[in-house]
Every structure is written in C-alpha cells, then in structure tokens.
C-alpha cells in the first residue's frame, strides 16, 4: 500500500459519494458498484483528490458523476486511452475506468490488448449487463445467444464474447469477476484490483432489470460461486481429479488453470447446472509500464531537468573538431 498516499484519518464511504442522485433505473446492478467502490476507497484510506475515474458512454459510464473524486466522461469506447494519458502524466494518481460491456468489448475493444500487454497501472471496472441499456435494448458483445433485442426481434445469432478469457489472453496481470448481488465480495475485489501494481481488470456481473429479463439477479443468485473459497465450485467447472486443487479453491497465481476456468466462464449459458465463477482468476506481480519506462530512463542516464551546461555539452560533441 505504500504506493498510494493514504489519509491518516479515514473518510466514511458516504464522504466519497457526490450530491448527484443516480439516474439509473430502480434495481440496476450499477448501484452496487458505487457502494462497493466508495467502501473500498474508505477502507484503503485513499484521498479523494488522488482518484481519477474515467468513463466512456453508456449507463455504466455515469458512475463517476455519483462519486466525489475527479472524473472524466469521455467518448464511447475511449475511457482506456484517456486513463492511460492521466496515469502516465501523473503516476501518483489512482486511475479507475468505469465502463460497460459495449464500451469495452465492442467499440473500444481495440484498446484492450495494448493496455493489458503494457501492464499500465490502472483499474478497469466493466459493468457487464449483457445489453445496451442507454440506447434501449440492443444486444451487446456479451449477450448470450438468442437474447432478444430491438435489432434482433428473433434473438441474436452471435456468440457471446468471453471477457475473462480475452483479458487473460491479452496478458492482463490481474483478472477478476464479481457480482452486483454481493457487495462485500465486490468491495474486496475492488480493493485488491486497486492495490494491484499493473493492469487490473474486474468484470462485474451487473444485471439490467429494465431490458435484460434473462440475466437477472434471481438468475445469478443461485449460480455464482466463489472460486477462491470453494474447491467444489472449481471442480464443477473443470475436471479436478487430475489437477492439484488446494482446499481454498483456485490459486490465482496459476495462469494455466485461470485460463481453463475462464474458458468455462460462460458454460451456464448452455448448461443449466453450471455455476458462474466469481473471484480472482489471475494475479501476477510484474513490472508496470511506468516502472519499465523508468528503468529505460535509468539505463540511459536520463536527466529530468537538464541544465543549460549539460545541453551545451551534448551540442559540443557534434561540433567538428579542427584538423
């Protein structure tokens, strides 16, 4: 935690909430994200003035408005590049992207591989409601096959994209999933994601009660299982007898098993018995992008504020010597 400035006297979660009343529909899963985030900020003792929340476009992207931190409501799909700019300009800041599944996996999907492989030290929170809510009910990249939307009156024929597996494949160093029906779990995941040095991705299953009548709280309540606590949940998804599963469940440092679990993340769309895994899939300590840039600077003896004499010495090297 020493990477972050911390308050001596912690603020209450309510102190991180703004005066703006959320405009989300009653029962929206995104309310829990604000609740869990403000709780995490409070428990991590983060100074509000050091937090920047960047969002794109969509219902989810309104989240920064409802919290008393710095915020930037940018363009559809462009929260990540904006956030990278903020982080590189001032690495002291805690930078969080509040985005949705449309933002992150359709129009802005091109940014994901690069932010992940570069391990930029930001946290991306995807409020995944499996539908475009703000434009009123079109299927999204994470919608299950057959879901009805206003552009697909007979159900979509597209296969859903797997957020966890794609982010793991792109090289994200922290990948987790949580659920809006479990604020305690969400708070814990958010805390770990924010503390993680490097790129952290959290997929939040955040049901849309207005437009998505299939992927509801009721549906998920019975199905979510914590892979980091329950070895049985892990064994329901993957073949266990050949694997070494410890008693606390999935070990997040095991990349291979993380991938294997991720490939089964969407099994529940096709198999009514399959659980929905929540928890930390993968976590790896690797140098962040900022650290790697610093290392290059050090290797070549970069000087932050070169003196005029130093600059002159560089020019002098190029002046032809008299023969």
């Amino acid at each position: 935690m020493s990477r972050f400035k911390q308050l001596e006297i912690p603020l209450k979660p309510a102190d991180y909430k703004s005066d703006i009343e959320p405009t989300w529909c009653p029962g929206c899963g995104d309310f829990t994200v604000v609740r869990a985030l403000t709780q995490a900020f409070s428990e991590l003792r983060l100074p509000p003035e050091n937090i920047v929340q960047v969002s794109g476009i969509g219902c989810s992207s309104r989240a920064p408005l409802f919290m008393r931190t710095y915020g930037a409501h940018t363009l559809h799909g462009r929260a990540i590049p904006f956030a990278i700019g903020v982080k590189l300009a001032n690495p002291e800041l805690t930078v969080i992207c509040d985005v949705g599944d449309g933002d992150l996996f359709s129009i802005g999907a091109g940014h994901n591989p690069h932010v992940a492989r570069r391990n930029v030290d930001i946290t991306v929170i995807c409020m995944d409601n499996q539908v475009y809510g703000l434009t009123k009910n079109q299927v999204s990249p994470t919608s299950r096959e057959g879901l009805y939307g206003s552009l697909t009156p007979y159900g979509t024929v597209d296969k859903p994209l797997n957020p966890i597996a794609t982010m793991l494949a792109y090289g994200a160093t922290f990948v987790a999933q949580t659920y809006s029906g479990n604020p305690k779990h969400m708070t814990e995941i958010f805390k770990q994601a924010i503390m993680h040095k490097g790129f952290a991705f959290v997929n939040v299953i955040s049901p849309c009660p207005t437009f998505n009548k299939v992927d509801t709280f009721k549906y998920y309540r019975e199905k979510v299982e914590d892979i980091n606590k329950d070895p049985e949940a892990v064994c329901e998804l993957i073949e266990c007898p050949t694997k070494d599963i410890n008693e606390r469940g999935h070990d997040p440092t095991d990349y291979k098993m993380a991938l294997e679990l991720a490939f089964h993340d969407l099994d529940h769309y096709y198999d009514p018995e399959a659980p929905v895994p929540i928890g930390i899939f993968y976590k790896s300590e690797e140098p962040s992008y900022e650290e790697k840039v610093e290392a290059v600077k050090k290797r070549y003896n970069a000087v932050e504020n070169p003196s005029p004499e130093f600059i002159q010495s560089l020019i002098d090297v190029c002046i032809p010597k008299e023969v």
Partner: protein
C-alpha cells in the same frame, strides 16, 4: 397535368416519426443490406428496419456491427458487391465514420445514409444541432437537408435513384433534426412498393465485385493518377445538381409531391431573405405570413440540396434582395464568419459580385430553445439588415 391527377388520389397518411418514415422508405426501396450501430437519436430507424426484416416485409441482411466505423465499412463491402445498401447514424457516430466517408465517395459507392443530426461532444449533448453534418460536408457525399417526415421518406427514394445513376455513383446523406424531427410524429403518405421500385429500380453497380470479372477496389494511386480520380468526383458532384433536379421533377410527376432542390417561400417582392434548413425552415413558414402583415417583407430560402450547392439558382435569388440572413446551427471556430453556411453564402456574394448585406446568425446550438418570438426577432433582424451591416457573427440566444 398528370401530376395533379395523381395528387388527387386519396391516400391515407400514416402517423410516423421522421425516423420511421426513413425506415418505411428503406423497406419500400427493397434495400438489400443495412448495417448499423445504435446511437441516440438515430436508433429507432434501424430498429424499425429490423422489425420489417423480422416480419418478412423486407428481405434484407441486417448487420449489427461493433462501431460506426464498422457500420460504414460493412456498407461499403456490401455496396461493392452490387447490393442496395443503407446505413444510419448521428453525431459521434458520423464523426467516427469520418475516414470511411471519404472511402465511400472515393470508391464511388452508391450508399444512402440518414443522419438524425445531433451536437458533437464535449461536453456530452444528445440534443440537436447541425455540427455533425457540417463537419462531414467536405467528404464528397451528396447532402440533403429535409424539413418534414414526408420529405424524408420522399428524399430517401430520390437519394437512391440519384446515388445509383451511372453518371453519378456517389453516396448520399439525408439529414434531419434529431429529436425535433426524429422523434415527433407527422402524417406521412407511403407509396406502393412496386411504384417506388418502378421509380427507383435497382441498377447494377457497373464496377461491382464479380468473380467473372475480378477487380481490386481502392488500391494505391500514385501522384500520376490520384488527382484525376479525385477530379472525377468533382465532375460527378457537378453533374449531380441537374440530375437531382430532374429526379425531383420526375418524382413530382409520379407521386404528386415535389420539393425542388431548394425552396423559396414568399420570395416574390421580398426585400430580405432568411436562409434556413430542416425544422427551422418549417417553423419560419408559419411565422413569415404574419410578419408580412406587419410590413416585414422577408422571404425564406430553404436549403434542401446542400452538396452540390445550387450556385446559379441562389445567385438569381439573392440578386433580387437587399439583405440575406443566414442561420447556422454549427460553429466554425475562428473562421472569418463563425457560421459555416454564412461563409459559403458570403463567398457566393463576392464571387458573383452581388450587392447585398449578409448577416451571419448562429442559433440553436445543442438544441437551445427557439420559439416563435425568437424567429420573429430574426425576421426583424433580417429586415433591419437591409440598411445596417453586421460585420460579426451574431450568436443568438447565448447567455453572456
């Protein structure tokens, strides 16, 4: 007068928003491929088309893509095979399409796109102004501004006929006001599909992708050729002016409704003119008769075909008045006149050596409210401008 007889036939109008009217036109034109990404306030156009396809009323492929950049790219791919292709967007969507706009016109793809015009971010505004289309005006597309849901329906039909004409082969944009038109309901007469297809039959794109005659589209053109290919677009755009006029005339003869490529309302004996488009023009048509009774002899020049710009027509109209007031709903920041349309009229006046005062007015940015009294003020301003010169753009309705 065959056209009048057609007009006399009683057709029952449907209550449609402009978005729905556009969708009905797409259905009646038997469009083959539609690609789209949802964006407010355009979304209900493609939703309605999706309904038509799902109900079996239109046999078309609907591609629900992952961004507007992809929407227009998919439309180009479809059009390249010779399919009749349509897409729709607004605001940021049109901005995200920008590089593809040039590719569509450079490849001479006869795509038709409707735009429910909306302001551009930042700050975020989902409301109406004309910033999106005015930012796309130099992309080589034919551009229409329409003033009613009926005109939108009729113009989409005309647009396909114009785009697919072998002498033209240019993409066409049909633009109208987001919300103010896209989401308000008007009576619209829709035509029999057979009649529509007789008027605008599908014409095979002469240079389509065809396995029997393989071609490559859009490869690199070195400095020896690029210029000539671009000049062909210049020529096609010039030809489109008279072609658009002919098509509208033919439409009037066939269906009993026509608009011309522009509209001059109460222009006879007018001493000053207001240039307006879309819903503002429609509102001014209700204001002007009352203002004439009060002695303000101000006419309305309603812009309908914007690209190509009807230079000769406008020259003759402007020649008869002492003043013109141009209403812009977009801002060209830092330009000599900050109203982009006003700048075009200004250059027309200089080029044709006309003697009249031009007043540039920017209004309704981000759908700032404009009610009857505001339009009355603008009519008065146009009247005053006969004898008073305003050198700078007037930002009407802004709080200072």
């Amino acid at each position: 007068m065959a056209s009048l007889e057609v007009a006399k036939e009683v057709k029952k109008p449907k209550p449609l928003s402009t978005n729905s009217a556009v969708a009905y036109a797409v259905k009646d034109l038997d469009v083959d491929v539609v690609s789209a990404y949802p964006i407010t306030p355009q979304t209900t156009v493609v939703e309605k088309i999706a309904d038509f396809i799902a109900n079996g009323e239109l046999d078309a492929e609907m591609i629900h893509v992952e961004s507007e950049h992809s929407a227009l790219s998919a439309a180009i791919g479809a059009a390249a095979t010779g399919a009749r292709t349509f897409t729709a967007t607004a605001s940021q969507g049109l901005a995200l399409m920008h590089e593809i706009l040039h590719i569509a016109s450079g490849m001479r793809m006869p795509i038709v796109m409707s735009v429910a015009m909306r302001a551009l971010s930042a700050p975020i505004s989902i409301w109406n102004d004309h910033s999106d289309v005015m930012n796309a005006r130099d992309a080589g597309w034919i551009i229409y501004f329409v003033s009613s849901a009926q005109e939108a329906y009729d113009t989409i039909i005309q647009a396909f006929k114009l785009a697919e004409d072998p002498d033209i082969l240019l993409p066409v944009m049909v633009a109208y006001d987001g919300y103010v038109m896209s989401h308000t309901i008007e009576p619209v007469i829709t035509e029999d599909r057979d009649e529509v297809l007789k008027f605008a039959p599908k014409r095979p794109f002469p240079y389509r992708l065809d396995p029997d005659n393989p071609v490559t589209m859009g490869p690199i053109a070195d400095p020896n050729w690029f210029y000539e290919i671009k000049y062909q677009q210049v020529m096609a755009m010039e030809r489109a002016l008279e072609k658009a006029r002919e098509i509208d005339e033919e439409f009037r003869k066939t269906f009993g409704r026509g608009y011309g490529i522009y509209e001059c309302f109460m222009c006879d004996d007018a001493e000053a003119l207001i240039v307006a488009k879309t819903s503002y023009a429609a509102t001014l048509k209700t204001i002007l008769p009352k203002m004439w009774e009060k002695g303000y002899k101000v006419g309305l020049l309603r812009l309908r075909l914007y690209r190509p710009f009807p230079v000769e027509d406008f020259k003759n109209i402007l020649d008869k008045v002492d003043a013109v007031l141009v209403i812009d709903r977009a801002i060209s920041y830092g330009a000599p006149l900050q109203g982009p349309l006003a700048m075009e009229f200004s250059s027309l006046i200089v080029k044709e050596d006309l003697k009249l005062n031009l007043t540039s007015v920017v209004a309704g940015i981000g759908q700032r409210r404009m009610i009857d009294s505001d339009f009355e003020n603008l009519v008065k301003l146009a009247w005053e401008s006969r004898t008073k010169k305003y050198d700078r753009t007037i930002f009407y309705g802004v709080r200072l």
